[in-house]
Symmetry: C2
Subunit: 659 residues, 2 copies
C-alpha cells in the first residue's frame, strides 16, 4: 500500500487535534494548517537523522510559531526519534510529559530551541545560520554544510524582533536560511486585517530577501517553492498560503481553531472529512512505516559525513567545539597574574576588553559583537575582524542598533554549537533584550552579555541611560549569572567564570568610569564564591559593608574611616549573588555571620535600587542606593547628589551606631 503525502500530513493533523483534545488545552490550528508544508519539508528537504539528534551537520528546524508545538512533536514521533513516544504525546501538556505546551530544547532532542515568545525562533535561526556559515569557513564543506529552516506565523512577522532579525540576515546574505511563513491570515483577535495592512513580501524583498509563494495545501507547489528557496543565494521567505485548522470542516479557517481544542463534535467531523478511521493515538502500520522511512533517509548521509569526520585532520577540534567544551585546563590565570603584577586604575569595561584580548587569543570559538556600541562596550579586540557577507570567517559582528535581535542571534549561535557568542550594549538597554536574556537562561544557552555603563556613573546621558532597577531585575531571572565586578581583577575572574559556564548565560555589568584595582591577590578565583571578604576588620568587627562593582571603592573608603574611629569593618565584595547563594552554609556564615544588628551592622552599597538587599543586610541593616530615576550630570556630581560618597555613608553609619 502506497501512502500519499496527504495521508502523511493527515497523521500530523489527527495527532495534533487529538493531543490538544486530550489535554483540553493547546493550539490545533497551526499544526493542521502547516501539516502539508511540514510534510514536504521533512520528506524532501530537511537533513536529519532521528538516531542521532545531535548530528553536528544536521539541518536546523525551528518552529518559531511555538504554540503549534504538536507539529514538531508529531514530526519527531513519526520520523522515529526515541522521544516523544505516543504515550508522551497522549500526555501532551501534562506534568512530566516532554511534550510541553511550547517546544523546549531541554525536554526533547530534535528541538533546537525553545519557542513560544513570538519572533524569537526566527531570530535565533538567524544566529544558527550565521554560526553555520562561520563554521563552514573554518572547517569546510566536508564537515559543515547545512541549512536552517523556520516555520513562522503572523505573530513572528509582526513582532519588532522580526525586523531586526531579517535585517541582519539580509545584510549577512544568509542564503542557507529559509523561513516558511504560515500565511493563514488569522490571529487571536480575528483576521489579520484587524491589525495589519503590510505587504510582507515587499518588506522582505526590501531587506535583501528572496521571496517565493505557494499554495500551502498543494504538495507539488510547496515542493517547487522549497526548491526555489533552497536554490536562491539569498535568505528566502516562502509564503505558504494556508487555511488555519485545515481539515476541520466547520472551524477551519477561523480564529476559533487557533488556541482551543476542536471539541468532540468537530473532531468527529474532521475524522469524517479526512476519511480517517483510526482511533486517537493509534496509527496504521503502513502509515507509521512510511513516516519511519522518511526518518531513515538521513542515515546514509550521516554515515558518509561521519566517515569524512573520522578522516578529518581537524576532527578533535571540531568535536570539541561542537560540544561547546573549552580546551583542557583553559583559564585566565596568566592574564590575572599580569594584572596583579601591574595594578591598573581603569573602567571595568576597559578591563573587560583586556580580558577579551586574552580570551579571544586563546579561544578560536568566540564571536563577539555589539549593538552599535563597539567603542563604548570595548567588545572588539585588536585582532578581531568583522564577520561579513563577504567573509564569514570574521569573529566580530556589527549587529547594528538591534539589541534584541543580537541577543536572540547569540542564543541561536550557542544552541547551534561550535561558537561562543558574546555581545554588548548599555546595561539600561538590557530591557530591550530582556525577552532573549530570559530565553538564554531557560534554554541553557551559554552566551555572555557585556553590559557597560552600569549605573549613574555613566554621567551626563541622564535617566534614560542610567540603570537603576536593572542589575537587581536581572538577578531575578532564574539561571542567569549576573556579575558586577569591582576592578580589573574581578572583571577577569568574572569573565573566566562566564566563559567556563557553557550551559547557561552570564551577564557582566561594567562601569564606564575608572575604578582603582582593589584586589592584590588571586590564589583562587574569589569571584567564583559570588561574595568574599575583600578586607577584614582591624578593630573589633561592628560593621560589614557589602558592595558591588564601582561601589566597592566607596565601601573601602567607609571602612577606612570607621577603622580610623576604632570601629572594625569588613568589606565584602559581592560580584555575583547567584554564586554566593550557591555556597555552602559554612562559607555564607563566615562571610555574613548571624548576629543582631546591635552586634554587627550590615550595610549595602550599590548604585541602584535598594529593594532586595534586605536579603543580605537584614531589614534592620542599612542600604545605600538609588530608589528613583537618575539625573543628567557628571558622574562625581551624581554620586554626591545621591549621597553615595564615603563621607555621606560614613556619617550615616556612625549615626546608626550612635557615634
Amino acid at each position: 500500500m502506497t501512502i500519499s503525502q496527504l495521508e502523511l500530513a493527515n497523521a500530523i493533523r489527527v495527532l495534533s487535534m487529538d493531543a490538544v483534545e486530550a489535554a483540553n488545552s493547546g493550539h490545533p490550528g497551526m499544526p493542521m494548517g502547516m501539516a502539508d508544508v511540514a510534510t514536504v519539508l521533512w520528506s524532501n528537504y530537511l537533513k536529519f537523522d532521528p538516531t542521532d539528534p545531535d548530528w553536528a551537520d544536521r539541518d536546523r528546524f525551528v518552529l518559531s510559531a511555538g504554540h503549534g508545538s504538536m507539529l514538531i512533536y508529531s514530526l519527531l514521533h513519526l520520523t522515529g526519534y526515541a522521544r516523544p513516544t505516543i504515550d508522551d504525546i497522549a500526555a501532551f501538556r501534562k506534568l512530566g510529559s516532554p511534550c510541553a505546551g511550547h517546544p523546549e530544547n531541554f525536554e526533547l532532542p530534535g528541538i533546537e530551541c525553545t519557542t513560544g515568545p513570538l519572533g524569537q525562533g526566527l531570530a535565533m535561526a538567524v544566529g544558527m545560520a550565521t554560526a553555520e556559515r562561520h563554521l563552514n569557513t573554518v572547517f569546510g564543506d566536508a564537515l559543515v554544510d547545512h541549512r536552517t529552516w523556520v516555520i513562522a506565523g503572523d505573530g513572528c512577522l509582526m513582532e519588532g524582533i522580526n525586523h531586526e532579525a531579517i535585517g541582519l540576515a539580509g545584510h549577512l546574505k544568509l542564503g542557507r536560511l529559509n523561513v516558511l511563513w504560515d500565511d493563514n491570515r488569522i490571529t487571536i483577535d480575528g483576521s489579520t486585517d484587524l491589525s495589519t495592512s503590510e505587504d510582507v513580501a515587499a518588506r522582505y524583498a526590501a531587506t535583501g530577501w528572496h521571496v517565493v509563494a505557494c499554495d500551502g495545501h498543494d504538495f507539488a507547489d510547496i515542493d517547487r517553492a522549497l526548491a526555489e528557496a533552497a536554490a536562491d543565494p539569498r535568505p528566502s521567505l516562502v509564503r505558504c498560503r494556508t487555511v488555519i485548522g485545515k481539515g476541520a470542516p466547520n472551524k477551519g479557517g477561523s480564529h476559533k481553531v487557533h488556541g482551543s481544542p476542536l471539541g468532540a463534535e468537530e473532531i468527529l467531523a474532521t475524522r469524517a472529512a479526512l476519511l480517517w478511521e483510526h482511533e486517537a493515538f493509534h496509527l496504521p502500520e503502513a502509515l507509521t512505516d512510511a513516516w519511519k522511512a522518511i526518518g531513515a533517509r538521513g542515515g546514509a548521509v550521516r554515515a558518509e559525513w561521519q566517515d569524512r569526520l573520522s578522516a578529518h585532520a581537524d576532527r578533535a577540534e571540531f568535536e570539541r567545539r561542537m560540544a561547546n567544551k573549552l580546551p583542557e585546563g583553559w583559564s585566565l590565570k596568566a592574564h590575572i597574574d599580569a594584572l596583579l603584577a601591574e595594578p591598573k586604575k581603569i573602567a571595568t569595561r576597559v578591563a573587560s576588553s583586556l580580558a577579551l584580548e586574552a580570551i579571544n587569543a586563546s579561544l578560536p570559538e568566540t564571536i563577539g559583537g555589539s549593538a552599535d556600541l563597539t567603542p563604548s562596550n570595548n567588545t572588539q579586540t585588536k585582532a578581531q575582524v568583522a564577520l561579513t557577507a563577504q567573509d564569514y570567517s570574521g569573529r566580530y559582528i556589527h549587529y547594528g542598533i538591534r539589541e534584541f535581535g543580537m541577543s536572540a542571534a547569540m542564543n541561536g549561535m550557542a544552541l547551534h554549537g561550535g561558537v561562543l557568542a558574546y555581545g554588548g550594549t548599555f546595561l539600561v538597554f538590557a530591557d530591550y533584550a530582556r525577552p532573549a536574556i530570559r530565553l538564554s537562561a531557560l534554554q541553557n544557552a551559554g552566551v555572555v552579555y557585556v553590559m557597560t555603563h552600569d549605573s549613574i556613573g555613566l554621567g551626563e546621558d541622564g535617566p534614560t541611560h542610567q540603570p537603576i532597577e536593572h542589575v537587581m531585575s536581572l538577578r531575578l531571572i532564574p539561571g542567569l549569572d549576573v556579575y558586577r565586578p569591582a576592578d580589573a581583577v574581578e572583571t577577569a575572574e568574572c569573565w573566566e567564570l562566564a566563559v567556563q559556564r557553557r550551559d547557561g548565560p552570564s551577564l557582566l555589568a561594567l562601569s564606564r568610569q575608572n575604578l582603582p584595582q582593589v584586589r592584590t591577590d588571586a590564589a583562587e578565583n574569589r569571584s567564583a564564591r559570588g561574595a568574599y571578604r575583600l578586607k577584614g576588620a582591624d578593630a573589633d568587627r561592628r560593621v560589614i559593608l557589602l558592595a558591588t562593582g564601582s561601589e566597592v571603592e566607596i565601601a573601602l573608603g567607609v571602612a577606612a574611616k570607621l577603622e580610623g574611629q576604632g570601629i572594625g569593618a569588613d568589606v565584602v565584595s559581592m560580584p555575583c549573588w547567584s554564586r554566593f547563594d550557591a555556597q555552602d552554609a559554612a562559607y555564607r556564615e563566615d562571610v555574613l555571620p548571624h548576629a543582631r544588628p546591635d552586634e554587627i551592622l550590615r550595610v549595602s552599597i550599590e548604585a541602584g535600587t535598594t529593594v532586595g538587599w534586605e536579603r543580605y543586610t537584614m531589614v534592620d541593616g542599612l542600604r545605600f542606593g538609588i530608589d528613583r530615576f537618575g539625573a543628567s550630570a557628571p558622574a562625581d556630581k551624581l554620586y554626591e547628589y545621591f549621597g553615595l560618597t564615603t563621607d555621606a555613608i560614613t556619617a550615616k553609619v556612625l549615626a546608626r551606631l550612635g557615634h
Copy 2:
C-alpha cells in the same frame, strides 16, 4: 538686515557644538546635520506658540533621535520659549540644568516626550497621531486639527519597535504623522554599511507609507519634500540626505562627530567655515530677532483657536479631557457595591473586564486595546468598537502582535492628552514592552497596563508563558504602581486607583484562573493602602501571612488551619507594594508590627520569585514562591508541584513554629 535660512540653521549648529563643548559631553553630529531640515520645519510647517507650550492644538514635535537633544534645546530657546535660557544651554548636561543629556518632557515645556532609548520617540508619535485623529472625530476640526512631526535617525529605524510602530501607523493611515529621517549613513560603529543593507524607503512603502526624499542641506528641496509629506493622506517618511556634523570641516561626515565634543581646534575651524564671528552663547540681535519672529508666527493662529474654543459647546469637556482630569467625584463605588452584594468566583482578568464595563461607560476618554490577546486579556467591553482607519471614533485598538509598539503608543496618547489609554498582553510579555513601561514611569504617563495570566496559574502553556520574576521586577521600576489584586473587589479597587492616577503608570497583574471573592466589605478602597489586614487573628497572633493575588486564597486556607490548632494568624493582602511603602509608619507598624520571629512569624506567599520578600517577612521569616522556571501542566498540578498549597505551606509553618 535679512537673515538667511542658512544663518538661522547655523545658530543651531553653533549653539549645539558650543554646548557640547562646554559640557565636554554630548552629541553634536545630529543637531548640526539636521539643523537645516529643522529650520525649515519650524519656520514653515510646525504649528506652535512658545507663549503657550501646552496649547492643545499645537503640532507635536518629537525628537526620536534624542541624543541630538541640543537641536530641540536650541529651537526652544531661539523661538522664544521661556526656558531654556541661554544660561540653561550653557549648563547643558550639568546638574540642575533642564537641558539634560536627553530631552525630558518633565524638564521643559515644549518637549513632548522623553527620548533617547531609540525607536520609542517614533512609536510614541504614532500614539500621539492616533489620539489626534480620535479627538478630531470627537471634537471636530475647530478644536483638533494638528500634525505630529518626528525626527528619527538610523538607530530609530533599525530598532525592532520601528517595525511595530510603522505597521500600526500604516494600518491606521495616520496621514498627519510625518517622520523626517536623518539619513546620514553613520552610526556609532561607523558607516551604516557595517550593519544594514536595507532599502528603507521600500520597506516603508511596503507598510503603507508615503516616502519622499530631499537633500537635507538644500532649503528649497527640504521645503518641497515637507510640503509633499504634509499633503499626502498617508503617513510620510521624508528621507533627508544629510551630512552628520555638517559645518565641521574636518570631522563632519564621520562617526567621530556623533557622540563626542568637536574639540577646540575643530570648533575654531567650524566657526571659520561658517563665517561665524560670535563667541560661544552670544548671538547677534538680528539673528535672535529673526528666530523670535518665527516663534511668534503661531500666536495669531492660537488666538483664533482660543476664540473657537471659547465659543465651543464642548469647551468644558474638551478642557477636562485635555488636562487629563477625571469628572468630578468619579469612582467605581457603585460597581464595587454591586460586587459586594453578589460575590463572584471569577478570574481577576474577568473581574477586570467587569470593572472596565463601568469605567468605559463613565469615562468617554478611555481607549483600550490588546496586543492580539483580546479574548484572553478581556480588555474589550461590550459597547467598545474598534478604532480603525475608516472610523477613528472607535475606542478599541487591535494593536496586533506588537507589545512594545502598543505600550509606546499608549505613552504617546497619554502625553498627547485627551485620552486614557489602557492595553493588555500576557504578563510574561511585559518583558517585550519593558523599555516602554520604564518610559511611562519616567515620563509621568498615566497609562494602564492590563497584564493577565500572571503566574504558573496559567497552566499548560508552560515556562515560556509563566511569569516568575515579572511581578517583582516590575515593582523595581521607580514610579510604576504594580497591582496584583486577589479578587473581584480588589480588582475594581486597583482599577479605580489606576484610573485616578493620571500622572503616572499602573500595571495590573491578573489571574487566568478563577478566584473566590475574599472581600466582603468596602467602607473604603482598602487597596489604596497597598496592603491591609484582610483577616485578623482569632487566637493569639503568632503568624502574619502576606500574600498577593491568587495566593491570598491559599493564605486564608493556611490561616484557617493554623487557627484550627489554636495558632492565631493574620492574613495581609498586599496588592501594591509601592502604595504600602508610602503609608505612614503607624499604619505600616499596625499591619506589620515589629516583633522577633519567635514572637510573630511572617510568611509570604506569592507564585513568583521570593527574592525581595525579605523586606516584609524579615530574613528569618518564611517565603513561599518559585525560584526557578515553571512547567507545563494544569494549574492545580503546578501549584501542588511547586508546594504552593494550603496543606504544604501549613505543614512548613507548623514545623517552623515547632508544632
